[in-house]
């Protein structure tokens, strides 16, 4: 019999986050700090709108690129919050989560041999999506001393004449790093000079804790026509299970992305789209509340790390902290394994997000303060014990 599988698919490695959490599920009293989704429920008024849309019998498909009202609200929202300006009719597509947007953006833009620059550590989907889209992923290893920000020099060092796309995953999962305006301006110069396109994955934009707030790459001069801006409802509105995201960008790219979406997906879930309209119209206050809560937890964790002598740069985005465990003289994976075995706390080794995550672990603060407290007490005990050895 012939091999039923595609060689390309088989060559892609499964995600490395999994194995720890299989153990957590089995282990009694284990606490996980590994989850990458909000601990809040979707605000009630949004859920209520979803229910209402079902009661009204809105159970049909929507048009391929999404509900007209939703696309309009998305552009109004992006303008209000991040000064972006897009035309709802031609420059927006509503997708099944930000993940689909990443996939179809790459498929719409890459030809075989085109190189995609992916700064790591990062969310684990960019690399396989690039491969699935016939592209060649090229990793840029971000450095701890830059607080895991991407520098213009790093892009320049990685660019070849085959480079077409740069992924900008900020605020970043897993490091929590953000790019401030000055950081982005430096990148924009290289993008223009080297004639690159950018996928700016801004799914965590609302969870930015700097004074300046999130800066959207496409607002920089000359970058709008080179950028696909990806965002969604999962993180900011605690709507992960609704599977709803969107991409905005130049008309010709969005048109081709819509073509793929139309053949593979048809349209994003209708109930979710109706609920999302309400989220954008009335959600600012709830988002602010959640952001404040996350911010408090973030400060609490950093304070505890300081107390237990674990170095950690201050991350200003998302809901992750990325402490440096190198002084314990073990690999990220050893650290995570031992911490789970000895103290029953699960964290994700930094290496699950790329080689440059070695020496670091990802801790999510999408957990209640009381949970974080118990976990951090156990971690403190572990670190003390391991340093004394």
């Amino acid at each position: 019999m012939r091999d039923p599988l595609s060689k390309r698919i088989v060559s892609i490695e499964p995600s490395g986050i999994r194995k720890f959490f299989d153990v957590v599920n089995e282990m009694k009293d284990a606490i996980s700090l590994g989850v990458g989704e909000p601990d809040f429920d979707t605000p009630w008024f949004i859920r209520d709108e979803g229910i209402y849309s079902l009661e009204r019998g809105r159970t049909f498909y929507t048009s391929n690129a999404g509900l007209k009202e939703l696309k309009e609200e998305i552009t109004v929202y992006l303008n209000r919050r991040f000064q972006l300006s897009y035309s709802p009719a031609k420059e927006v597509i509503v997708t099944v989560g930000g993940s689909e947007a990443i996939d179809i953006a790459m498929r719409a833009m890459l030809d075989p041999g085109d190189e995609v620059l992916i700064p790591e550590p990062c969310y684990v989907s960019y690399l396989p999506c690039a491969i699935l889209a016939n592209g060649t992923p090229v990793s840029i290893e971000l450095k701890a001393e830059n607080e895991f920000r991407l520098t213009a020099q790093e892009v320049l060092d990685a660019v070849t004449d085959k480079t077409k796309l740069l992924v900008l995953p900020f605020p970043n999962n897993p490091t929590g790093a953000v790019m401030e305006r000055k950081d982005l301006e430096a990148i924009a110069k290289v993008v223009a000079e080297k004639d690159l396109y950018v996928i700016s994955d801004e799914i965590y934009a609302e969870l930015t804790y700097t004074e300046e707030g999130h800066v959207s790459f496409a607002t920089l001069p000359g970058m709008r026509e080179r950028t696909i801006t990806i965002n969604g409802f999962s993180k900011s509105y605690a709507m992960t299970g609704w599977r709803l995201g969107y991409a905005c960008g130049p008309e010709e790219i969005i048109r081709e992305m819509t073509k793929i979406h139309q053949y593979c997906i048809m349209c994003a879930p209708t109930t979710s789209q109706y609920a999302a309209v309400e989220a954008l119209r009335r959600g600012d206050e709830e988002v602010e509340k959640m952001r404040e809560e996350y911010n408090g937890r973030r400060r609490y964790l950093l304070h505890r790390f300081q107390e237990m002598g674990l170095p950690c740069f201050e991350p200003y985005g998302a809901f992750y902290v990325f402490p440096d465990i190198r002084k314990l003289k073990m690999t990220s994976e050893e650290f995570a394994t031992k911490l789970l075995e000895q103290e029953k706390v699960a964290v994700v080794p930094g290496t699950a997000f790329g080689h440059s995550g070695e020496g670091f672990i990802r801790i999510s603060y999408a957990y209640s303060l009381s949970n974080l407290k118990i976990a951090l007490d156990r971690m403190e005990h572990f670190i003390k014990h391991e340093s004394d050895r």
Partner: protein, 160 residues
Amino acid sequence: MREKILTFIEKNSRIDLKELAVMLGVDEESVVTTLQEMEEEHVICGYHTIIDWDKVGIEKVSAMIEVRVTPQRGMGFDKVAERIYNYPEVNSVYLISGGFDLMVTLEGKTLREVSQFVSEKLSTLDTVLSTKTNFILKKYKDHGTVIAEGEKDERQLVQP
């Protein structure tokens, strides 16, 4: 800073002040001073506990009583309200717009105790025109807190 402190302690007045300071990114001393100021100014009027008495097996009867009154000359409703809220069994008194004037909530040990209060104390006040007693059958949510069991983390394992 006042608003931020109040937002945090409104839901959890027992929060450790050191932790609160850390979470707000300020020093502990200024949290303590601000709290003291707000207590003195009666911005913070008290710290209470939400109790599900059923769980301890102690029976309590609560009622919400709609009261129509004649406001008194020169004092409006305040004087009448005061006469009512001075009773320790009265939990709250609100001046209400609509079909009646005061909403009085009351807690007693038995049905009889509550009715006695209404018929002997409340209705007999000169200024009270009429009362309508609504007994509470079940509390679902109180002070922004859902009384039912705490929620479980139902997030599932997902990749990536």
